[in-house]
Amino acid sequence: MQFSSFAEFIDMGGYGFYVWLSFGMATLLLVLLVMNSLVSNKQVKQRIAKQQARQEKLKRAAKQQAQLSQSS
Amino acid sequence: MMSINIPSYRQAFMLMLKRDLTIALRHKDDIFNPLLFFIIVVTLFPLGIGPEASTLSRIAPGIIWVAALLATLLSLDRLFKADFADGSLEQMMLIPQPLFIIVLAKIIAHWLITGLPLIFIAPVLAVLLHLNENSYGALMITLLIGTPVLSFIGAIGVALTVGIKKGGVLLSLIVLPLYIPVLIFATSAIDTAAMNLPYSGQVAIIGALFFTSFTLAPFAVSAALKVSTN
């Protein structure tokens, strides 16, 4: 252990701002990357699901129309 | 069967603004690209000139403003060109509301998409170029009042060249000379600020340019569009 107190740890020998800026920004960017990856994964799945739903809706509409034209 | 319920001027303005912003936001690139162009152009100069901090700091205001000019210039095409090519512009000229309302909305949308982001990124670039610390305030103020002027003046240029097949460089010829006053007073304000002197005189002039272009440009643009689409 290089530090004797928590305050000393935070201060980093006077370089606290720069060290924590680096670690903070790195963490932030990595977290954003992970979130973006998860979100876009979900979005793609939702897009596919939505498309499927619409296709099914259209399929039903087409079937109905076919039945109507048959009965008339 | 007379038509009913024509949207008010304000409604028409808002509709147009929303449409243009939607199109820009659809491709998010549209916002990031002029910004990136701005950043890349600024970085080209240290690469071409060399890394000495003293030289860079001396020419920083000029570089940032020239880059802002060029970034606006390159994004101007979006203002009317696409609308002209697909016939939307024709339709806009047939809208019951006066054309300058539509034009105003389009110009403001353009500034929101291209001018505003520049202002946010400029301080970072100023750091890279070692801009004098006293100058940051002046840089921000001049950009805030100056970039709308660029959009307004640029709109006139695009409106004049919209009917010509390849307006790309012709546009710059028309527009850049008109941008020169903004460039001169803005950089002068930043240089003055670096020496810790008051720069309100230059800002006042840019402010005057802003109000003039804000009130007159939409009419000039409308007139120019009518000529271009005839």
Binding site: - | L15, I23, D86, G87, E90, P96
Partner: protein
């Protein structure tokens, strides 16, 4: 003299393009209930005439009157009564079919949510959320034409509305024109196809192709 119920009349129009006289001293009038087809071979000047009638270009000589007033005196009123769809459709490829239509409807003061319903009329059901640039030539044009189904404006000026539209689509449009004319509107159009509308309803203005 134009009769009193003339919506629009053209007074001795002359149009000169590239030193060629397309038409000279052309007078005509468009009444409520008219469907007028401007006919003529390629290059006769149909598009030029329609653009002059819509106020988009100025004739070399002559004037267009709307409700017996010269056009330039009341552009705004005229634009409140006019729908013009030209060779280019005015559809943004970056917006979806629905957004495109909603914009034009809103500009007429109609609620944007009418758009979805209207798209059904032109057989674009299922393409509401497709970007217009991803549609076929005919579907693209259908977006532009869709607004006619909601249109309250009496004067329609349409330059080759049937371009790229399939047969069923053409039939629907023709029915719409008849409907519109019956309700007191006026349709001015060009097309190189034969109209399947009762010949009594259609007037034809024949533009000749003048070589000199």
């Amino acid at each position: 003299m134009p009769s009193s119920n003339a919506l629009l009349h053209a007074d001795k129009l002359t149009c000169i393009r590239e030193d060629r006289i397309l038409f000279e001293a052309l007078s005509c009038q468009f009444n409520q209930g008219d469907i007028v087809q401007i006919a003529g071979p390629n290059g006769a000047g149909k598009t030029s005439l329609l653009r002059i009638l819509a106020g988009l270009s100025q004739p070399f000589e002559g004037e267009v009157h709307f409700q017996n007033q010269p056009l330039h005196k009341n552009v705004e009123l005229y634009n409140q009564n006019l729908t013009y769809i030209g060779h280019l459709a005015g559809i943004k490829g970056e917006m979806t079919a629905q957004e495109n239509l909603a914009f034009y409807l809103a500009m007429q003061g109609l609620p944007p949510h009418a758009a979805e319903q209207t798209l059904e009329n032109v057989n674009l059901l299922g393409f509401e959320d497709a970007l217009a640039s991803h549609l076929s030539a005919g579907q693209h044009r259908r977006i532009a034409l869709a607004r006619l189904w909601q249109c309250q404006k009496p004067i329609w000026i349409l330059d080759e509305p049937f371009t790229a539209i399939d047969k069923q689509g053409v039939k629907n449009l023709e029915n719409l024109f008849v409907e519109h004319a019956k309700q007191g509107g006026c349709v001015i159009l060009t097309t190189h196809q034969d109209l399947a509308i009762d010949a009594q309803l259609v007037k034809t203005i024949e533009l000749e192709y003048q070589l000199v």
